[in-house]
């Protein structure tokens, strides 16, 4: 019968053996390759292309957890949607930026492409197939203009990107300017012409005497994009103009043209009494704030105020039939061009081109591809909202094993030391 001291010694040897076994198990597990789950796969979006073939080919995969370290492409989203429809649980996690980009064109003859970017919470590069176009600093949204675009436009923020194609520019049709022989008519025509519009005009210069281009009629959308009516001299064409707008044409009406009954019924606003422009000192430059003005008052519930100066609304618009109507409150905008300093000429030209373009009918051809304009929204639409990262049971047990082994080893070591000390050994 072993003595008590011998039993303790045997117990200490057992504890030492257990400690060595525990350390051996820990060493062995640390040298094992990761345990691959046969039923669940965790993959990163940036490596998705590499793993896609294996995922699709393996019928054993029951769930996919996608880590969104990049935004999956349209094709990759489609593949994940297809997996989900084949009863594979597809989840994704991560916080990708809500980056989105849209490419449009103003409806003007020499329209630059406009790139609207949102979700650029960090500096974002705008590139096309030919290289860098511009960069956008952090902010909720930004618009960048580009003279030309080659292929798709991509908004890139590290590994995250959104892409879009600009509509294909189509030739614009003519603008018909109706106004009396005065400086406003002349310089509106000149501004539009310089901006690339094909301008035709009818300008009464005396009773029964018009200065006009040949064959200005018929007034229809096959020949014209926009009619610019600058004063009451458009009255005899009001019926044709109303029909033109109903068919999809654009109307820009200013001054006395807004008082013509038929045009007034189409117009978004009425013009008030004329207020003189600012009295200029010798070297003053004219801006829109200094122009004579007939403040507009909105006449329709669907009218939208687009621009406002101190005395009131200066630009208002509405849809009428298939077309659009823009009312202008400025009088004598030509003074802006002639007296507007170094920038007045270009600003006046651009302003009038924008005004005509804002009511011109759409004639852009749709882009060949829609790109991937809002990839995060598309991802949520395809796969639902993000979920927390999910770990498999084997991963969970593998994660907790080192702690269990540590506790066992520590307990064995402490028990063995305590046993020796209590019996007086060192």
């Amino acid at each position: 019968m072993p003595s008590r001291a011998e039993r303790r010694r045997i117990g200490e040897w057992v504890l030492r053996a257990a400690l060595l076994v525990t350390l051996g198990v820990a060493l062995w597990r640390s040298m094992q390759p990761p345990i691959a789950s046969r039923a669940g796969r965790a993959i990163a979006a940036s490596a998705f292309e590499r793993d896609l073939a294996q995922l699709v080919a393996s019928s054993a995969v029951k769930s996919v957890d996608l880590s969104a370290d990049a935004l999956p492409s349209r094709a990759e989203r489609d593949a994940l949607t297809a997996l989900r429809r084949n009863e594979v649980a597809v989840r994704w996690n991560g916080t990708p930026p809500s980056l989105a980009v849209e490419a449009t064109r103003a409806r003007e003859p020499e329209a630059r492409a406009r790139l609207h970017v949102t979700g650029a919470v960090q500096p974002t590069a705008l590139v096309d197939s030919a290289g860098l176009l511009d960069s956008v600093r952090a902010g909720p949204g930004a618009t960048v203009e580009a003279a030309s675009i080659v292929g798709a436009v991509r908004a890139e923020q590290g590994k995250f990107a959104a892409s879009a194609y600009a509509p294909v520019q189509e030739p614009r049709r003519a603008v018909l300017v109706l106004g009396r022989a005065d400086w406003e008519t002349k310089f509106v025509m000149q501004a539009l012409s310089e901006a690339g519009w094909n301008v035709r005009a009818r300008i009464p210069a005396a009773p029964n005497v018009d200065v006009h281009d040949d064959l200005i009629l018929p007034l229809d959308t096959a020949r014209y994009d926009v009619v610019v009516a600058l004063d009451s001299s458009a009255a005899d064409m009001a019926t044709a103009i109303a029909r033109f707008v109903a068919e999809g044409g654009g109307l820009v009406a200013a001054g006395g043209a807004l008082e013509i009954d038929q045009l007034g019924r189409l117009a978004p606003a009425r013009a008030g009494d004329r207020r003189p422009g600012r009295i200029l000192l010798a070297d003053d430059s004219v801006t829109t704030r200094d122009l004579p003005l007939r403040p507009l008052s909105l006449a329709r519930s669907d009218a939208v105020s687009l621009q406002r100066e101190q005395p009131g609304i200066t630009l208002a618009a509405r849809r009428a039939g298939l077309g659009r109507v823009l009312a202008i409150g400025y009088d004598e905008s030509w003074r802006w061009r002639m007296l507007g300093g170094t920038s007045g000429l270009a600003a006046h030209r651009q302003w009038w081109s924008n005004a005509a373009g804002s009511v011109a009918p759409a004639r852009e051809a749709a882009p060949r591809s829609s790109g991937d304009a809002a990839p995060l929204a598309s991802l949520i639409s395809s796969l639902g909202p993000p979920s927390s990262p999910v770990k498999s049971s084997s991963e969970r047990s593998r994660d907790s094993l080192p702690i269990i082994l540590l506790i066992i080893a520590s307990a064995c070591l402490l028990a063995e030391i305590a046993s020796r000390r209590f019996r007086g050994a060192r």
Binding site: R180, A181, D182, W183, E184, T185, K186, F187, M189, Q190, S193, E194, A201, I203, P204, A205, A206, P207, V209, V211, D231, G255, G256, A282, D283, D331, E332, W334, R335, R337, M338, L339, G344, L345
Partner: protein
């Protein structure tokens, strides 16, 4: 809407005010033949002044040598760029005269080469029809000045529009009478002025 104001250019050299009755006569003609709202009196505007840009058509004449100062030249270049039209008429009707020689030299330096306008130019049909080009003046027919009947006007165009119209026909003498006297004329010789004004307002 603003009235058309007839503006006469005042320049630092020469006798810019040599035809003082021309403005009143042209204003009378514009009011008589057209529906253009025209101011009842003209203005005088210095070529070097920013006020020049208030008047997109300016008339310049004289007998004496013309030399533009730097500010006048710069102002005229900006004026042309923005769409203003300068109408220059040689009051001497003499291509060997000092006005013609100096004015064309200055204008060429300011605007670039001055070229003859063909008889089919839209200026000759912008209101009244002048199928034979610019109307002849009595001063040409009477053999005054250089004793020549000038067949064409000349000018400088930008983007298909005249920014400079130059005349050696001495319309300044032809039109420099009191409008009251127009009733003694069998044919109103100021009709071509209507074409210039209507052209400026519509092109």
């Amino acid at each position: 809407m603003s009235d058309f104001v007839f503006a006469t250019a005042q320049y630092e050299s020469g006798d810019w005010d040599s035809a003082p009755l021309v403005p009143a006569n042209i204003i009378d003609t514009i009011a008589r033949y057209t529906s253009i709202d025209v101011a009842p009196s003209g203005v005088i505007v210095p070529l070097s002044s920013p006020q020049l840009f208030r008047y997109p058509l300016v008339y310049l004449t004289g007998h004496l040598p013309v030399r533009f100062g730097p500010s006048e030249r710069a102002n005229l270049q900006r004026y042309a760029e923005r769409g203003g039209l300068l109408f220059v008429d040689d009051h001497n009707h003499d291509i060997d005269g000092v006005f013609h020689k100096t004015a064309t030299e200055e204008l060429t330096r300011t605007y670039g080469p001055i070229k003859p306008l063909g008889k089919s130019h839209s200026l000759y049909k912008s209101f009244f029809k002048f199928d034979d080009g610019p109307p002849t003046t009595s001063h040409e027919l009477n053999g005054w000045g250089d004793n020549l009947v000038h067949q064409t006007l000349s000018g400088v165009e930008r983007d298909g529009r005249l920014v400079l119209l130059y005349s050696s026909k001495d319309y300044s003498s032809e039109w420099n009478y009191h409008p009251e006297n127009k009733r003694f004329l069998s044919v109103d010789n100021t009709k071509f002025a209507v074409n210039i004004v209507v052209y400026a307002l519509t092109r």
